[in-house]
Amino acid sequence: MIGVTEASIGFLLLIAALFLGLHVAVALFLIAMLGAALYLGSPLVAAFGTQLWGAMEDYVLLSIPLYILLGEILVRSGSTDRLYRSLADWLNILPGGLLHTNIGASAVFSAVSGSSVATAATISTVALPSFHKRRYDTRLVLGSIAAGASLGNLIPPGIALIVYGAMTNTSVGQLYAAAVVPGIVMTALFIGTIILIALVKPDLVRQKEVADPLRERLRRLVDLTPPLVIFGIIMGSIYTGWATVTESAALAVVVALPIAALYGRLSIRMLHECFIATANLTAMSLLILAVAFYLNFVMGLLGVTPALGAFATSIGASPLELMIVLAVFYLLLGIFFETLPMLVGTVPIVFPVIVAAGIDPVWFGVFIVLMCEISLISPPVGMTLYVIQAVRREGTIAEVFQGTVPFFIAMVVMTALLIAFPEMALWLPRISFGL
């Protein structure tokens, strides 16, 4: 049994190991081994093998490779350009014109592809040429792509929610339901931000978009169907009770194949590329996750969970105070870390505290994923930002950083809204699962 002091030292050592540039899984491994060797003895150090097998042999986690495979197939199916064009037809009417399409297309695409980095790269490639001859403020163009790409984790099916669910034994179906409304609100806030900028500073958005004839626009609506069908199948099959989260992912993979074939992109070579990319991403996530489970196991035996819970109760902080402290903590951490390290590094410590404080685990899942999204667009560490800059091949990275500022503010507002109105996340799971 160890107390809060030892646990905090362990946490600081973990952060230090991460900053030294060790592989994330190795940093977790070292702390777990240290705890097991110092306090538990060699049989529990040797339990690493059984724990690895136990953690990796998991049907719910199979949804991770399946969603990644789905994303890879869709990325290579060539539906992005069509999606972008069709969304532009309808979103151009708003003040801010084509900027809204960046948000919309990135949101849809990152939701189905599950990767913010892939989205940033894909949407930039499609979007940036369209902005070349138009008169928009460059920084806003870049910022809106980055903001849109970060939405993917919050809009189901996101990998981050599966990881959180697996680490905390929270139902992934409920987490998905909980994320729907906040995902929509977040998208609306981004669109509102652009409208506000366009109205207050019309100089930044001087372009008036001309819409194509209605008939042409209606014809192009077809291009919106593939991503929507996939999304509909996943959410629909889960909430009608036809399929579990993992089964719905398998279903979506099977449906994605004819879509890729329809666009003429399906081939053995293309599939093999999808497979290799899937293997890499799956291995990366699962190695971290499996070792994180071992760390969790060690922490459980060391009594860290009750110690942290008791500690949380002893400070007597109200859930609201706790949430604000955690929001600040995650904003700071997000400057340096990306989604996965942030998630697996903090959840084992933070989760017992929030449970003891009476905060709903499903709500907290949405909250922590929102914090991960903020980390994606907060400079200087944020892969999406650099990818966008690289696709652009001109100007400086500082312009991308500046462009994200309004959207960063919108996300902080979103965090405040989520804390002020927890019902936003809790309403849908309650009506769909009868909790």
């Binding site: 540039g21 490779p65 497979f275 293997a279 890499n280 390290p341 696709v391």
Partner: protein
Amino acid sequence: MPNTPKDPNPVSRFFGPPARFLAILSGWWLLALSFLTVAEILLRKFFSISLQGVDEIGGYTTAIVSAFGFACALTVKAHTRVDFLLGRMPAASRAVLNALSYGLLAAMAIYGAWRGWSVLEESIEFQAHANSPLQTPLWLPQGAWMIGLALFALCAGAMAAHAFWLLLSDRAKLNLFYGPLTLDEEIEAEMGTILEREGKQP
């Protein structure tokens, strides 16, 4: 982009083909299992029949597919590292930390493979079967899992040895081969996909 025949790092060049083979095998298996799952959903919904054990096979699949990918991810530097401080250090300190990272990674991979082997050994010795409708003999999925862990341990071990040798002989190469994924490498990986998608050659 690494993971091509032109990969300058001899160790990832050597381990690339077997690792990619396992990755492609995993992919086909995932695809087959997806079709099996769809059959299970439809049969269950419309005929109230269950194929029994798709979820059990699915659980083993997670373990095997991830283990099969460990080495492949290693050859393309896909295992995440936080490079915030590392990228701001002088080359000499970076070299030491990069070698240290791979040394510790190899320690974990080899220890994991060793402990994994003892899990498999026990299942063989006691002829352990899953407590499920399929009654799967556990050595079967655990054996496949072990192949992945073993390749990972070999690859990580070779990389660590190579990294330490480079620490003594050629630090620039060490930082090139065993530094965190550079921006250019990561972007090239992403852009390769996109150019492919656009129907152009990267």
